[in-house]
Symmetry: C2
Subunit: 224 residues, 2 copies
DNA sequence: TAGCTAGCTTAGGCGTGCCTAAGACTTGGA
DNA sequence: TCCAAGTCTTAGGCACGCCTAAGCTAGCTA
């Protein structure tokens, strides 16, 4: 990964969004089809073609029609920087400023593009060097390494499994509020009592209480 | 002033910069010539003409050739919101994250455009409702009122004056570092021993020490 | 193998925010 | 009074990031 930060490299917000999305779609390991990226970013396929061409010129992605787009090592570096900014900001907003886990995503999405390396570092230090954000996602190190995740989706659990909530998707605030309302926070221990049948809810035992978890919530929850 | 926040009103970063600059140049009280604004923002006069036309359509400025540009009440509201964001961010960075007073300006200039009202409020609360930023500039209230400033420029002081540093311009980090190196911080008390003669330095007595203050530093310092 | 369809790219266009170059208006001095 | 200088606007253009519409390609199915 390049030593230059995204700020010094003057990548635009939009470019950073594309790189971050590519990273999230696994463009480090395998090529990502443009259509997938278009859906993710809610832009037209034509826009994706344009932007991928620009990013290719900048040496941030490789791109051929047969396979799709992949991040170069430099592109991965920029993407990881954005992911680090995003997750660190989420952690900071929750721990230092009293945000709830359902309030931080949009704020972090805006701020991640304009914080300096200095601010990043100060927040990191203020939090004592956190490893995870408020949704259980790992915060990449400055060198770009990520702890391997061993969790599995709540949907994949079998009746009788005793697990803890380890991670949730940060995308949908409403679902996050619903999970919290059911008593599910990061680290909450519970037992899976009933698996989902015919797309019905899962049933959990949590603090002696039986709790029904709709499919849509179970899908964004991960446990170990 | 409109109740809508700049975010909800979707003013662009650039528009907000123009409004803030106009506010700083006194476009509430008197019309500001476009050339002055162009110099301030380091853009061409033609760009200013363009942008003022857009802002006029949005009802944020009035603009006639004879006089120049003035902020409407709504425009003043947006400008003050940016000023509030900027100064609050500066205060937060210094007090909560250990920045020095010469490090905060650029960071705040970027962040002021993308923080939510929620974040603004959380920072305000975390600081206990501060009235001034680290350079002694007053932080406007949400309703847009500003405490009146009674300070005067250090340059205007006479020999024998006993005063305290109350405010400095936040624009030039190097000068801020130089002031600090001379022992001058907000609230520092000193006596003016010698006024500037033939554009030479002022002389101050500060903690029994005699200190020479170059004209360029005295110009950005204010006292009361 | 031929044709259809899904997916990608090209072409052309739009709004924003900037630019330079050239014209118009004002204002003060000769 | 009239010219010169400074100021402001107009005209035309560029990069960015997006769009729609139309064309191309490739792979699957009949």
């Amino acid at each position: 990964m390049s030593k230059l930060t995204a700020l010094a490299r003057h990548t635009s917000s939009a470019q950073e969004d594309y790189l971050k999305a590519l990273y999230g779609l696994g463009a480090v390991e395998a090529a990502v089809p443009p259509s997938r990226l278009a859906r993710e970013l809610d832009v037209s396929p034509a826009s994706v073609t344009d932007m991928l061409a620009k990013l290719a010129v900048l040496g941030l992605v490789t791109h051929d029609r047969a396979h799709g787009a992949r991040l170069t090592p430099t592109g991965r570096g920029v993407a990881l920087e954005m992911v680090r900014h995003h997750r660190l900001l989420e952690a900071y907003l929750v721990q230092a400023l009293g945000y709830r886990w359902d309030e931080v995503h949009d704020e972090a999405d805006r701020l991640e593009h304009c914080i300096s390396e200095v601010l990043e570092q100060r927040m990191f230090q203020a939090l004592g060097g956190p490893s995870f954000d408020p949704h259980g996602d790992p915060i990449p190190s400055t060198r770009g390494s990520l702890p391997r995740e061993h969790d599995r989706c709540l949907l994949a659990c079998k009746a009788g499994d005793r697990v803890r909530l380890s991670r949730v998707s940060d995308r949908e605030p409403e679902k996050l509020r619903a999970l919290r309302a059911l008593g599910l926070e990061l680290g909450t221990a519970f037992e899976v009592v009933g698996e989902s049948r015919w797309e019905g809810p899962l049933e959990l035992r949590l603090n002696q209480r039986l709790v029904q978890v709709p499919l849509g919530l179970a899908r964004i929850a991960f446990v170990h």
